[in-house]
């Protein structure tokens, strides 16, 4: 009888780029059952899944549009996790940034667009920071576990926003629970005409470069990595863990806040309570898939953007239920995580 066993051995370097493909393949096999149940041909569905985002200019650009907030939340989570601060609150910090942007966007009416947009970015960054500072201060002053507090605060801000949108801020024109539309001067310019790709993408790329620079080129970054990789030893070597974590937490919150600004100023032009729907959590996946490397997280975010785009067109063109796209996407996430974990193992015959 043939016997196999799994042993620990990192996969060769040439295999790494193939891993996402492997994950896609496994996912398709697993999910074909559901697609058959929905009376569609799995092969056609997958053909659409993979190719449709690339068949036209609009959806190709749409990949980057979808990736923009994920690059930011991925970067946000990366800098926090790399410093040993387990920020699960990018979702809430994104909403804080969005809230600030939605408000600033309504008061900068007569301003020069450059000033208005700078005010939006700055305000969103600060709002994310402020929201992140609550659990961060609890952590460094009172040693309250940040995983719990950051997570809880996500729901809190969604409730606050809901209350605002259904109360004082309800749009008087439409009557919908959404904030008034932001001024024209506050709207992010488009990077490509007749597309949704906006300035936020540039901001995202700049943030990736920024945290890469901080983490690998500055003393602060080295201290951050030291406290993330070995907190006790770092403390012994005189790293001020509290301060380092606080800075990481605030930066992380600020960057997540920028993701919220982008969604308001580049996509929706007002605040709605379903603005994010999990972008902050998906950022955790991007950061993890990217191996807590800023560029890795960026690439992972674009990959996730591709999935998102593909999922939408599959349900649109095949008439299968919309949630089938989500099933495929979530399965793919799980499989990808699994494949990335398993890349450190090899199967051998004994």
């Amino acid at each position: 009888m043939l016997k196999f066993r799994i042993e620990r051995a990192p996969s060769p370097v040439w295999m790494r780029p193939l891993l996402p493909l492997l994950a896609v393949l496994i996912t398709f096999v697993v999910t074909s059952v559901f697609i058959l149940l929905a009376n569609a041909n799995p092969l056609t569905a997958y053909y659409y899944y993979l190719t449709s985002p690339f068949t036209n200019r609009v959806s190709m650009i749409e990949i980057l549009v979808k990736a923009t907030p994920l690059i930011l939340t991925g970067a946000s989570v990366t800098i926090a996790f790399a410093s040993g601060y387990w920020n699960i609150g990018a979702e809430g910090q994104l909403y804080a940034g969005a809230l600030a942007a939605a408000w600033i966007g309504t008061v900068v009416g007569g301003w020069h667009p450059v000033l208005a947009i700078l005010a939006m970015l700055l305000g969103g960054f600060l709002a994310g920071m402020v929201w992140a500072s609550i659990p961060a201060l609890l952590k460094v002053k009172l040693a309250v576990d940040e995983v719990v507090t950051t997570l809880l605060l996500n729901s809190v801000i969604v409730f606050i926003i809901s209350a605002l949108l259904n109360g004082p801020w309800r749009d008087p024109v439409s009557g919908w629970p959404q904030s008034p539309t932001i001024a024209d001067s506050a709207v992010f310019p488009k990077l490509i005409p007749r597309s949704r790709l906006h300035l936020g993408f540039v901001v995202a790329v700049v943030m990736v470069l920024l945290i890469w620079f901080i983490l690998s080129k500055t003393p602060l970054g080295l201290r951050m990595r030291a406290s993330g990789l070995g907190q006790e030893a770092a403390r012994f070597m005189g790293v001020n863990i509290q301060r380092t974590m606080l800075i990481a937490a605030l930066l992380s919150g600020g960057i997540a806040g920028l993701a919220g600004v982008g969604e308001v100023a580049g996509i929706h032009f007002h605040l709605i309570d379903a603005l994010s729907n999990g972008l902050g959590y998906t950022g955790i996946i991007a950061a993890t898939l990217g191996g807590l490397n800023p560029f890795g997280a960026g690439v992972a975010a674009i990959f996730l953007g591709l999935l998102d785009t593909g999922a939408q067109s599959v349900s649109r063109s095949l008439g299968v239920p919309i949630f089938l796209g989500n099933v495929v996407q979530s399965t793919l996430l799980l499989v990808t995580l699994g494949v990335f974990m398993l890349q450190n193992y090899r199967i051998r015959r004994v």
Binding site: P219, L229, G238
Partner: protein, 500 residues
């Protein structure tokens, strides 16, 4: 026929050859010592035998049969067990649960049944542990016994012990040796890794010496002496290092006044400790482990706050200060657990400079070039076997200790705080570390040496303070201190008023 035979084993890590065509033979029923300097490749060889690493070349025979060992599971199936220095027990579980963990036929655990079975096994192998005790309540020595029982329970006929005595107090070492000798009589073969030559001469039948990844010889105990072994290991003769010359009467630099502290369970661990260390002297702190040495080290290192008392360095109050402030005040610290002194995932250069990063910063950016240059200088000066860009965790114990030593001593600290500085180090490295500490004394530093190794304390110290249950129970001048006197104090026999 050998219980285990390893032939032509080669293991490379990048361009470093950790095992270079090693042949190793373990006879049935012998205790076989594996000796060698830090980084000689002992752990690597045994990890290959236990399936944790995979050899690049070579073959392994168990009871004459060629085998392929790709995981610890294979090794266990072949009757090979390993007790590593870092235990793999689950603290909240009981001894019995830990022993059967991962080795229970079927899915259901029947607590009474496994407890009885484990208790029987403990009885049969003559290993003294309570099978229903929670592992987190056990001492280090007891945990080690659980590890041994765990291996025997899996029918190990070959037991690998990697530096088992490094963490034990003398009484526990005696118990371990009794156990091993009894198991040996029942046919168990043991590979025993240690840096302590007297232990090796006590318990082993044959000795294999590795140097730079090569086997430089396997000898019978009766054919060698300790100094011959030391020579085989380091390739030259070694001489013990001892303090020379009388102490120059310097000014007190480190003053500890009535310092008390509690341990991590909140129990009093230091009770009003007062000590003074003068420039140019080594003050040794002797004591059986667990009598407050750890807490004293932590309090002085800035990793634990005292509950009362005062600590002064050159008049500067550093009581309860953080590590950075203490370093700035001129205290060089060698931690008792070297893994707590370096971040394993960072590089050697990063670990070397993290304490003083501001000196390697230019325009807000790290000056990597200068970090590497500085590290290279220290690597050369302190003969560290590593490259600046290696991750610190890949260094052998001795080289990691040298890294910490280099980092600390290169800054010429006024006070040197050395806690267990030679724990787990080979004879050559031990000699080296002791020489460095004496150099610090010559230079005029105030050295506080905390060690459980009485020989080390006696060889280096100008004065010896004995700590017992968190109190300093006596301070003796080096020439009035004898092992007997110290031994009495260390066991709390009587209190001696200081007249040193």
């Amino acid at each position: 026929m050998f219980a285990v035979e390893m032939r032509g084993i080669v293991k490379r890590f990048g361009d470093l050859v950790a095992n270079d065509h090693i042949n190793f033979e373990l006879k049935q029923g012998e205790v076989h010592a594996l000796l060698g300097e830090n980084g000689a490749g002992k752990t690597t060889l045994m990890r290959i035998l236990y399936g944790l690493y995979h050899a690049d070349e070579g073959s392994i025979f168990v009871n004459g049969q060629q085998v392929s060992i790709t995981s610890p599971k294979d090794a266990i199936a072949l009757g090979i067990g390993m007790v590593s220095q870092h235990f793999t027990l689950v603290p909240p579980l009981t001894v019995a649960e830990n022993v059967v963990l991962g080795y229970n036929p079927g899915i259901r655990l029947n607590p009474q049944q496994i407890q009885r079975r484990v208790a029987e096994a403990a009885e049969r192998f003559g290993i003294e542990v309570k099978s229903d005790a929670l592992v987190r309540h056990l001492s280090v020595g007891e945990r080690q016994r659980v590890e041994i029982l765990k291996a025997l329970y899996r029918n190990a006929r070959v037991l690998i012990m990697d530096e088992p005595t490094a963490v034990l107090v003398p009484q526990e070492v005696d118990i371990l040796f009794e156990t091993l000798l009894r198991l040996q009589r029942e046919g168990l073969s043991v590979v025993f890794i240690s840096h302590k030559l007297n232990e090796v001469m006590t318990i082993c039948d044959r000795i294999t010496v590795l140097r730079n990844g090569k086997n430089v010889g396997t000898v019978f105990k009766q054919d060698v002496s300790q100094s011959k072994l030391a020579q085989m290991m380091v390739g030259r003769e070694t001489f013990g290092v001892t303090r020379q010359g009388e102490r120059i009467q310097g000014e007190p630099v480190l003053r500890i006044e009535n310092v008390s502290a509690v341990d991590n369970k909140g129990l009093p661990a230091l009770k009003s400790v007062s000590l003074e260390v003068a420039s140019g002297e080594i003050l040794g702190i002797a004591g059986v482990s667990g009598n407050g040495q750890s807490e004293l080290t932590h309090v002085l290192s800035g990793t634990m706050k005292p509950t009362s008392g005062k600590i002064l360095v050159d008049g500067q109050d550093i009581t309860g200060a953080d590590p950075a402030t203490i370093t700035c005040a001129g205290v060089g610290r060698i931690p008792e657990d070297r893994h707590g002194g370096v971040v394993g995932e960072l590089t050697v250069a990063e670990n070397m400079t993290l304490e003083t990063l501001d000196e390697y910063t230019q325009n807000g950016m790290l000056d990597r070039k200068r970090m590497l240059e500085y590290t290279n200088t220290l690597i050369e000066e302190f003969q560290i076997k590593a490259r600046p860009t290696d991750r610190a965790r890949t260094l052998s114990g001795g080289n990691m200790q040298k890294l910490i030593l280099a980092r600390t001593l290169a800054r010429q600290p006024k006070v040197v705080l050395a806690a267990q500085p030679t724990r787990g180090l080979d004879v050559g490295a031990t000699e080296y570390v002791r020489k460095k500490l004496l150099e610090q004394r010559e230079r005029g530093a105030a050295v506080l040496l905390i060690s459980e190794d009485l020989d080390e304390i006696m060889a280096l110290s100008d004065r010896i303070a004995v700590i017992y249950e968190g109190k300093i129970v006596g301070i003796l001048d080096a020439h009035e201190a004898t092992p007997e006197k110290l031994g009495l104090l260390m066991t709390g026999a009587r209190e001696v008023v200081s007249h040193a």
